[in-house]
């Protein structure tokens, strides 16, 4: 991971959050998370989740909440995949 790449991702997610800022906080966070889920590559999602877990200071409140939703979705997806393998 490079700092430049991370900086870009932080800027991108904050911009996405700002553009969904007219919605109520929870709905906005859901929308941002859904957007990342649909349009960001796996490596980008991983990078922003790791940043949120390590510090996340530069994320706007909506962005921070969105990454939390994204992280939860990633865990659920992984658990689903693990269950499928075990089955």
């Amino acid at each position: 991971m490079s700092h430049k790449q991370l900086d870009t991702l932080i800027r991108m997610i904050n911009q996405i959050a700002a553009n969904n800022g007219a919605y109520p906080h929870d709905e906005a966070a859901e929308r941002v998370a859904s957007h990342l889920q649909r349009f960001w590559a796996r490596s980008m999602k991983t990078m922003i989740i790791e940043y949120r877990l390590s510090e996340g200071d530069e994320l706007s409140p909506i962005a921070k909440e969105a990454v939390a939703i994204l992280a939860q979705a990633a865990v659920s997806k992984q658990q689903g995949a693990d269950s499928a393998v075990q089955a």
Binding site: S2, K4, M12, Q15, N19, G21, A22, A41, R42
Partner: protein, 953 residues
């Protein structure tokens, strides 16, 4: 007999009339039934009775000047002109008898008495209407001699690079003048003088090049003699066969007859049967095809290990082997996701499909993207979210039923000229025009324009403006409540309505943001909302912003709120830049979706593809182009396959792009030329132009048009063959014998294309998708009954100002665009005579901004942004607002994208080309980047052609 069949190769003399009322007439004893308003000449032609004519042609309104088409009508005195006389029930017409024959011979005799008798050496020999008519009427002598007053010594005008004007051959039929007015809408030509002194004149008695002529070729095509004649015909003679194909320039997708002599293109003639262009053309499609045989074409594959090494010419197999080994080694070392590909919006649907298929199969990831990323990706996003389909809603002809035309961030007369002409025709007929653009575009100068409004907003404030317009619509009760109730999702509508009616969106409150007077916004809103049919056309001035997607959704909101969706004359119409932007998006080029906009997370769709392709498809999106660049610089993305795109010139932040390209271990470029990107490449695969391949393009109105091969591929292979071979070398088998087989596969996997195949395309001429069981011949107007998502969804469109703002250091806003004669990065048009119109990119700035900086016309000026600096010559014009500067990006050495930044659309990463904060000052030398560019270019040309070039042993 009832006649309706249309043969595009026949000239019916006068235009078709659309009427449900039919009229029966008898012509030379034959009963014919035609629509009311049809001319006698056309009715006769429909029955294969061909009345002699000179001033008439079916692309122009009847004029009635030549008198050659005189007929006799029972019960009428004299000999009325059949072109200007319309039929009525029971009319009895005689087109041939002794009196008429004598009259026509007399007319012809007068014409020929002032016409050079050089038929055998005339370039129109064999394709001259005057010659044909002389034969038809049986002219055998000219009694007047040739010693009287005449025009035979008139001087030729050779100023235009593509056609000559020889007044000595002119019969003053006015077809050229009328074509310039009616077809093109420029009004550059006129008949100067009276009586015998009448002559065709360009502008104010100027040379064609000095006049307002835009070289569309309509006058040349309309000319019945050799007066206006293509220089290629003068040089090479008349063609011996022709093939109908589709232009590879802008998103209008004009049909042309490529007229050939053997395998040489003699002339590109706009095809009357083309449903996008109806026989019209622009200077690019009509004349600028010489790049296909330019000496700069790369003719054999080349490889090298590093970009400072000479290129080695190799066989195709050696090139594939070299590329495949590198790609495999990179994936083995850096992982499956370390490579990707970029499809081209200039190549065919089949070729774009194959590249993304190669990425998803042979590469095994979703790292595929397309140049639509940097132009219309917000269109795909915004229209999908609101109306459920990533495409415009209408066909081009729809504009002819618009009463109010709103053009936002588009410059159709330059960027989509043939459609621009159609729009101008509708404006002349009385439609009102609303333009929202920082620049005073030429459409606002349309001759005979009835009513127009220019909302000259500040760059970057589109969303604030569209919100203000929508605010007026809602607060003044101008919504189409019945449409909203029946067709739109109530919950999303209520949320939007609550948002948009807030007072902060009122025109008065956003006036300081947009710079547009509140009264003008209110007037525009009322005009659009009250129109019987209101249409919106938009271009890159909407999409290439940090809020490009929001603006597209704002436009869709406005159209739905006013009920301007689902019928002819209305709609939301993105004007696509390149010839196949729509198609490359349709074909699954984006990293998050498969063909037909099927998201990769959609398990059902994925399974369908996996069965046909025999691989597992990643259910997560891949990297977009800017993400690829960032990852390359970070060292995790190491190889890129680029088909027919010049990202080093076209993408923003040139230094950043160059750094990314230099970071790659393997860059494979497939292109016609050593373009800017290829200078950083390790493998160069010579591609084929549109003249050298079979396939399809999809234009801005979703129209799938056939591209037909008219000459052998210069380097031996069509682009789809190259991708197929590369895939096979990588170990993923692809076996197609013809692009039609690729289209069959596309149709089998793409619900909106399921009814498309080459046989049907040949039968119908073209098809507007969706084409499937429900719509077997396609769909000209979308969303007539419902939306693909059921109900239309309103989106809340909060205005978020771009981070790219002016300050004391960068007090001006730069916006970029294109001009008529050049196309995109100029790789094609710079290699044609179109250079005479635009051989350098200039910086346009307002006289006030120039004066305070001491800048004069033609001064060299440095343009600095937070991204970089470049130097251009200044052009001082009030076409731009004070505080705004403008340039084009057609010449690589201009470095327009050295100064554009990494600011991009929040939803799609489409770059914000239209807003860059800059400072401008007089300078005396090129920028550092330009100096580096020049030396790098010299090195790369040397490595390509110079002493250091070595052939592989």
């Amino acid at each position: 007999m009832r006649v309706e069949k249309f043969n595009p190769d026949k000239d019916y003399g006068t235009p078709a009339r659309l009427s449900e009322t039919l009229v029966s007439v008898q012509i030379d004893g034959i009963e014919i039934t035609v629509p009311e308003g049809t001319s006698v000449m056309r009715a006769a032609a429909l029955a294969d009775i061909n009345i002699p004519k000179l001033c008439a042609t079916d692309s122009l309104d009847a004029f009635g000047s030549c008198r050659l088409c005189a007929v006799q009508i029972e019960g009428h005195r004299g000999y009325p002109a059949s072109c200007t006389t319309t039929v009525y029930n029971g009319m009895k017409v005689t087109t041939q008898n002794e009196k008429l024959g004598k009259l026509r011979r007399n007319v012809m005799e007068l014409y020929i008495s002032d016409h050079p008798l050089d038929c055998l050496t005339c370039p129109a020999n064999g394709n001259c209407e005057l010659q044909d008519m002389a034969g038809d009427v049986g002219l055998r002598e000219v009694r007047y001699g040739y010693n009287g007053e005449h025009h035979l010594d008139s001087k030729k005008d050779e100023s235009n690079p593509y056609f000559s004007f020889d007044p000595s051959k002119c019969i003053v039929c006015s077809r050229c003048v009328r074509a310039c007015e009616e077809t093109q809408g420029t009004f550059a030509l006129t008949i100067d003088g009276r009586g015998f002194d009448s002559k065709v004149s360009a502008g104010q008695n100027q040379d064609f090049m000095d006049s307002e002529c835009v070289s569309c070729g309509a006058c040349v095509q309309a000319c019945p003699t050799a007066t206006l004649m293509e220089k290629s015909i003068i040089d090479m003679g008349q063609p011996e066969h022709s093939v109908v194909t589709t232009c590879a320039y802008c998103g209008v997708g004009c049909s042309f007859k490529a007229e050939m002599k053997g395998d040489k293109v003699v002339r590109m003639l706009p095809y009357k049967g083309g449903d996008a262009n109806h026989g019209h053309s622009c200077v690019k499609g009509r004349f600028a095809f010489g790049y296909a045989t330019h000496k700069d074409r790369i003719k054999s594959p080349m490889i090298r290990n590093a970009i400072n090494e000479p290129w080695q010419e190799v066989s195709w197999d050696e090139a594939y082997k070299f590329a495949a080994e590198k790609l495999k080694a990179i994936q083995a070392r850096y992982g499956r996701d370390s490579v990707g590909g970029i499809t081209s919006s200039r190549c065919t649907n089949e070729e774009a499909y194959l590249v993304q298929k190669l990425v998803r199969t042979a590469f095994g990831n979703n790292n595929t993207d397309t140049c639509a990323r940097v132009c219309h990706s917000p269109t795909g996003y915004g229209l999908k979210v609101t109306m459920g389909e990533s495409a415009g809603t209408q066909n081009f002809d729809s504009v002819m039923k618009s009463d109010v035309i709103m053009v936002i961030g588009a410059n159709p007369t330059d960027a989509h000229p043939v459609f621009g002409s159609m729009m101008r025709r509708r404006l002349r007929e009385g439609a009102q025009l609303i333009v929202a653009d920082p620049r005073h575009i030429d459409l606002l100068k349309t001759p005979h324009l009835k009513k127009a409004q220019h909302l000259a907003l500040k760059p970057g404030t589109n969303v604030a403006l569209i919100n203000a317009i929508a605010h007026v619509v809602v607060t003044e009760g101008l919504e189409d409540k019945a449409f909203v109730e029946k067709r739109c999702d109530r919950e999303s509508y209520n949320a939007w309505r609550e948002f948009i009616q807030q007072d902060r969106h009122s025109p008065e409150n956003v006036e300081a943001v947009t710079g547009v007077p509140a009264g003008a916004v209110r007037e525009a809103a009322v005009t659009y909302a009250r129109a019987e049919n209101g249409s919106i056309y938009y271009g890159l001035g909407v999409t290439e912003h940090s809020q490009g997607s929001t603006m597209v959704m704002g436009i869709a909101n406005l159209a739905m709120a006013t009920g301007n969706i689902g019928r002819e004359g209305v709609g939301v119409n993105p004007l696509r830049g390149q010839n196949n932007v729509q198609g490359s998006c349709d074909m699954g080029s984006f990293p998050h979706e498969l063909s037909g906009y099927q998201h990769v997370s959609n398990a059902e769709a994925r399974t369908h593809f996996e069965k046909v392709w025999g691989v597992t498809i990643d259910d997560e999106p891949g990297l977009r182009i800017p993400n690829m660049f960032d990852s390359a610089i970070a060292g995790t993305f190491k190889a890129l396959y680029v088909q027919g795109e010049d990202i080093a010139q076209s993408d923003p932040g040139t230094q950043h792009v160059e750094m990314a390209l230099r970071s790659l271990d393997c860059l494979i470029v497939q292109d016609l030329f050593l373009n800017e990107t290829a200078k950083f490449a390790h493998v160069l695969l010579p591609g084929s132009s549109f003249l050298e391949k079979n396939g399809t393009f999809t234009n801005a109105e979703r129209r799938i048009n056939r591209v037909r091969k008219v000459m052998p591929a210069v380097a031996g292979k069509e682009d789809w063959e190259i991708t197929m071979d590369l895939s096979n070398a990588l170990g993923y088998p692809m076996h197609y014998n013809h692009p039609s087989e690729i289209m069959d596969e596309i149709a089998s996997l793409t619900p909106t294309f399921s009814g498309v195949n080459y046989q049907r395309l040949d039968e119908l001429g073209s098809i507007q998708w969706p084409c499937n069981e429900d719509n077997p011949v396609g769909m000209p107007t979308m969303h007539v009954e419902d939306f693909p998502i059921g109900k239309g969804r309103f989106s809340v469109t909060e205005y978020v100002a771009t981070d790219e703002r002016t300050n004391s250091r960068f007090p001006l806003l730069l916006t970029t665009g294109r001009i008529l004669s050049q196309y995109n990065v100029g790789a094609q048009t710079r290699r044609t005579d179109n250079q005479v119109w635009h051989d350098e990119d200039r910086l346009d700035l307002h006289p006030h901004d120039a004066e305070v900086r001491g800048i004069k016309e033609d001064d060299w000026v440095g343009i600095s942004s937070r991204a970089g600096q470049t130097v251009l010559r200044a052009r001082i014009t009030d076409k731009v607002l004070p505080g705004v500067v403008y340039t084009t990006f057609h010449h690589p050495g201009s470095g327009a994208n050295v100064i554009t930044t990494d600011s991009s659309d929040w939803a799609t990463n489409c770059p914000e080309y239209k807003v860059t904060a800059v400072q401008v000052e007089r300078v005396s030398q090129p920028s550092e980047w330009q100096r580096n560019f020049k030396s790098f270019e010299e090195l790369q040309l040397k490595l390509l052609q110079g002493d250091e070039h070595k052939t592989h042993a």
